[in-house]
């Protein structure tokens, strides 16, 4: 269907001078075969990131591989103590159907874009884009999620921290597709917070996710939009775990001292590796992280104190 270079069609639209094949498999097997045959094909789910690049002539791949006709990718189900979330489940469905099992991811999902965006966008898409500002990603890291990817004839699973390897870079091979995410069901309160210029439709300037495991008395933090990848904050995790242990707060279900909250915020900010860019300065991001980390911990701990 290609026109000559930079042809303007009868409707005045530049077609970018390049042919573009549209591939629309109806099963995962077919999709993986197509990906093997067209490694340059760009997988497309809800389109909320990629269509912007297509509309603005920033993306002209040899082919688009539409994944929205593949029912297998739109399913989720519990297995053991995990949820297997198909890569193509929309955020709207995630919030309404699975939110009770994955509260941290559900809270983050509800802040993504707008209703129109959440009706189309998927966790698989957030993973494929691998932006440090992807709002679904910190909750995945905090919850200890694993990513399932497949190619024709094989599949593999890896922890999120091995999947995302840089800004907009991940461990996906050219012939592979993201199939599902395996996320442990919450074993305690989870929370998420982000900073931006308004509530809807923002790209996070900084974000923070926290998961409490009430059984093992462990706390896991994840920092978004303040480093080349989503970052863990092991020093903050260890500090808050031992503070709560020493003060007897786990059993007493008592409030966390302000000095402890403040130190926790400082350790989170120190664990970040932010840059200064168009959305915020390095100093602002560090300050914001200290604030939202303490606030997020307070919310999650309030939930813990209220639980029987």
């Amino acid at each position: 269907m290609a026109g000559p270079a930079n042809e303007v069609d009868g409707l005045g639209r530049c077609q970018g001078g390049k042919g573009l094949e549209f591939l629309q498999p109806t099963s995962l097997t077919e999709a993986l075969e197509l990906k093997a045959a067209h490694p340059g094909a760009v997988p497309l789910a809800g389109g909320t990131d990629l269509m912007v690049d297509l509309n603005f002539d920033r993306l002209r791949p040899e082919a688009m591989l539409d994944l929205t006709r593949i029912d297998e990718l739109k399913q989720w189900w519990p297995h053991d103590d995990l949820i297997r979330l198909g890569a193509g489940v929309s955020y709207t469905r995630l919030v309404s159907e699975i939110g009770e099992y994955l509260p941290g991811l559900a809270i983050a999902s509800r802040t993504i874009g707008s209703p129109q965006i959440r009706n189309r966008a998927t966790v698989g898409g957030n993973l494929g884009t691998s932006s440090p500002a992807g709002d679904a990603l910190p909750p995945l890291l905090a919850a200890g999620a694993e990513i399932e990817v497949a190619s024709a004839g094989s599949s593999r699973r890896m922890p999120f921290r091995d999947f995302m390897i840089g800004p907009k870079k991940n461990a996906l091979a050219p012939e592979e597709l993201i199939v599902a995410v395996h996320i442990p069901k919450a074993r305690g309160p989870q929370q998420f917070s982000k900073i931006g210029t308004r509530n809807a439709m923002v790209i996070s300037v900084a974000s923070f996710a926290l998961a409490i495991d009430a059984g093992t008395r462990a706390i896991s933090c994840a920092i978004g939009s303040a480093g080349p990848v989503i970052l863990e904050a092991p020093e903050a995790d260890e500090f808050i775990e031992s503070s709560l242990e020493e003060s007897g707060a786990w059993d007493a279900r008592s409030r966390i001292d302000n000095s402890v909250l403040q130190r926790f915020g400082e350790l989170v900010a120190q664990g970040a590796r932010p840059i200064t860019d168009v959305r915020g300065t390095k100093a602002y991001r560090q300050h914001a992280l200290a604030v939202i980390a303490a606030r997020t911990l307070t919310w999650a701990w309030d939930d813990y104190m209220a639980s029987a």
Binding site: L11, G46, M51
Partner: protein, 154 residues
């Protein structure tokens, strides 16, 4: 490529659709449905909001081929003949329309909200309309219109 889909209850088709173009472009420029507005082309403004198989989406973010065989409702499909839909009536009565460019998208978002939640709270209205930008009204009259439309259903 050829695209065939159902729009507002009728089967429509377009030939010679470029594989890289959006559903919004097909609707507006190839099939004569200019009600869905083209403003930002990046999902920010909500002016192109339509129903795609029952879900409210930005038509600019749907690749044309993804809508193959789909059921689409545009703002043109809400009124029955010359009788405006109650949501449209409410926007008129409340004075929620100034330049009018954002109105079709806001009407679609309001329609979707009231189908889902007939008597929404103000917080629910704000969340439901968060994907639609208006640069004229300051939104107060728009919120009035949604409340009026909800009242008309009660």
């Amino acid at each position: 490529m050829r695209i065939e889909l159902e729009i507002n209850g009728d089967t429509r088709s377009a030939d010679d659709v470029w594989e890289g173009e959006s559903l919004l472009f097909v609707l507006r420029e190839r099939l004569g449905f200019p009600g869905s507005k083209n403003a930002c082309e990046q999902g920010e403004c909500g002016s192109c909001s339509i129903y795609l198989d029952g879900n409210l989406v930005c038509a600019c973010l749907v690749l044309a081929g993804q809508a193959q065989g789909a059921r689409v409702t545009t703002v043109e499909g809400l009124a029955e003949d010359l009788d405006l839909h109650p949501v449209q009536e409410a926007y008129l009565k409340a004075g929620a329309v100034q330049c009018g460019f954002c109105t079709p998208g806001l009407i679609m978002a309001t329609h979707e909200l009231l189908e889902r939640k007939a008597q929404p709270s103000d917080a629910e209205i704000r969340e439901a309309l968060a994907g639609n930008l208006c640069r004229c009204t300051g939104y107060e009259k728009i919120l009035d219109a949604v409340r009026l439309a909800a009242k008309a259903r009660a």
